[in-house]
Amino acid sequence: MKCEVCRKREATVAYTYIIDNEQQMLQLCSVCVAAQKGAESVGTQQASKIVAKPKIEPQSVDQKELAPCPRCGMTYEAFRKGGRFGCHGCYEAFAAQLAWLMKQIHGAVGHCGKPRVERRERVDPEEELSRLRQQLQNAVVVEAYEKAAELRDRIRALEGLAKIAPVAEKAIER
């Protein structure tokens, strides 16, 4: 029989997956199986399937009223078809529908995990190393050996276990 997805090639594989809490089977050709394998999880299929079912979508928001995303130009219609946003701006553009969509997919209405990793001023490793070495010298001089040991470890990590000034090292080992 012909592959149920492309309808061109012969089906050679019975591909089992789960969608909407039911086990489904598709007769697929090897090319379409490879494409299915590419989908990170069955979840991506669920997104398109849910979004493509107009019956369960709330009537309160008329899709035609949703303007396309100003950043990338994607329309809500295009999103529904492909199951993918075009850019992060789409989240704002389609905000009216997102609460409903996310509830369907995740059963949740907001993020409660890791906050955004903030951008930091990057320090040149060489600068950082000489700064740390200076701090190490100072720590040894004032006999703050615990601090000195900590600095030594950080220096080592940055250098990849290169040797530090023998004097300072001996001082710490004492």
């Binding site: 997104a47 994607m74 997919i105 903030e118």
Partner: protein, 366 residues
């Protein structure tokens, strides 16, 4: 380290550690991230994609974890190499087969990597042997912190990390385990188990095969929900569910041994005999035989092989790995099947020469 060396090494995440008596082969944590500076890859122009690659590489330069990373622009690789990387789980089939500028950065030991311009700008991943979900989350989270400090991640208060597909929004975290459930399959319990898992919001995928549903009785279990839960909760949930799965499999194995010990032992040893001696092995047959031998090992019936050895075998017998071993000249499927059998024979023979129990890191063929 050269790419060829990578393809021939035994990656740490396959060494069989922490495998819960041979049941959990490996685990993986993946984070989806995007930059504010460009549309998502499918809608980005060539120039924008290039810029993303440049920015990610810039951030990676300051990352301790990617110190000795290998950088590969996918477009410049031939198909054989791309598919070999897919077989090693270093890149996804999507990254290999899609168009446009895209790349991968990965640590030499293959435990840590970043895909650039797949479905999202960045897909970070960490892999480890056995059931080490907390560890892979820790690793990938640390890499995320390092890279994020040099990039402008797209993130909103309400929706968390913004991804191309809404099924990844929020944490962007997908944790998955590769688990071996032969007794549950034999006992025809898998359908019930799958249903239960889906109701708990876990996705289960089998490895495909000709006409069968799960080749080698291997399943990939992963979380489905990425929003509304903290990353720790997601990890905890998966660990708990895995504990239950392992319990079910153990019960099913016990039942098998109570009712059909001789048949199970026979099946395992016959499989071992075939693997040790066959001259032609299709990948389908190889996976099925390996599964029977794995079950034999889990039950303590076969002591000759260990998980690390079998895991490594699973990787090197894949089509593009065999092709890379053969060098030039495209192998026909028949030639591949012959080479597969020869490779398996060689490795088992070498293992036997070195002693009944190979080292935990897995054996290399002589």
């Amino acid at each position: 380290m050269t790419l060829s060396e990578v393809i021939h090494q035994a990656p740490g995440w396959l060494n069989g550690a922490q495998d819960q008596q041979g049941m959990v082969i490996s685990c993986r944590a993946r984070l989806a991230r995007n930059l504010e500076t460009a549309p998502f890859p499918s809608r980005a122009t060539a120039a924008e994609r290039d810029k993303v690659i440049e920015q990610v590489c810039g951030a990676a330069r300051y990352s301790r974890r990617l110190q000795a990373a290998i950088f590969l622009p996918i477009e410049s690789l031939d198909n054989n190499t791309r598919q070999a990387l897919v077989e090693r789980h270093l890149i996804s089939p999507a990254l290999a087969d899609s168009q446009g500028q895209r790349a991968v950065l990965f640590e030499c030991d293959e435990s840590l990597g970043v895909m650039i311009n797949e479905e999202d700008h960045l897909r970070l991943q960490a892999m480890a042997p056995g059931l080490q979900a907390e560890e892979v989350w820790r690793q990938v989270g640390a890499l995320d912190d390092e890279l994020g400090a040099g990039l402008n991640y797209a993130h909103s208060q309400r929706w968390g990390y913004l991804t191309a597909c809404p099924t990844n929004t929020g944490t962007g975290l997908r944790i998955s385990l590769l688990i071996h459930l032969p007794a549950l399959v034999l006992a025809e319990q898998m359908e019930r188990v799958l249903r239960g898992l889906t109701q708990l919001s876990f996705t289960v995928r089998g490895f495909y095969g000709e006409g069968t549903q799960a080749v080698g009785n291997l399943f990939q279990v992963s979380n489905q929900v990425t929003l509304g839960l903290s990353e720790e909760a997601i990890v905890e949930g998966l660990v708990e569910v895995t504990g239950q799965l392992i319990g079910f499999e153990r019960d099913a194995q016990e039942m098998l041994m109570t009712e059909a010990a001789a048949q199970v032992e026979d099946k395992a040893w016959r499989a071992f005999g075939l693997l040790s001696n066959a001259r032609v092995l299709s990948s389908q047959e190889f996976m099925n035989l390996l599964s029977a031998v794995r079950l034999g090992c889990s039950l303590g019936l076969i002591k000759e092989l260990n998980s690390g050895f079998m895991n490594q075998l699973m990787i090197v017998t894949q089509p593009f790995h065999l092709q890379s071993e053969a060098g030039s000249g495209e192998l026909t499927p028949e030639e591949r099947d012959i080479r597969r059998a020869a490779l398996v024979r060689q490795r088992i023979a070498a293992l036997r020469k070195d002693g009944p129990i190979g080292n935990p890191e897995g054996s290399e063929a002589a």
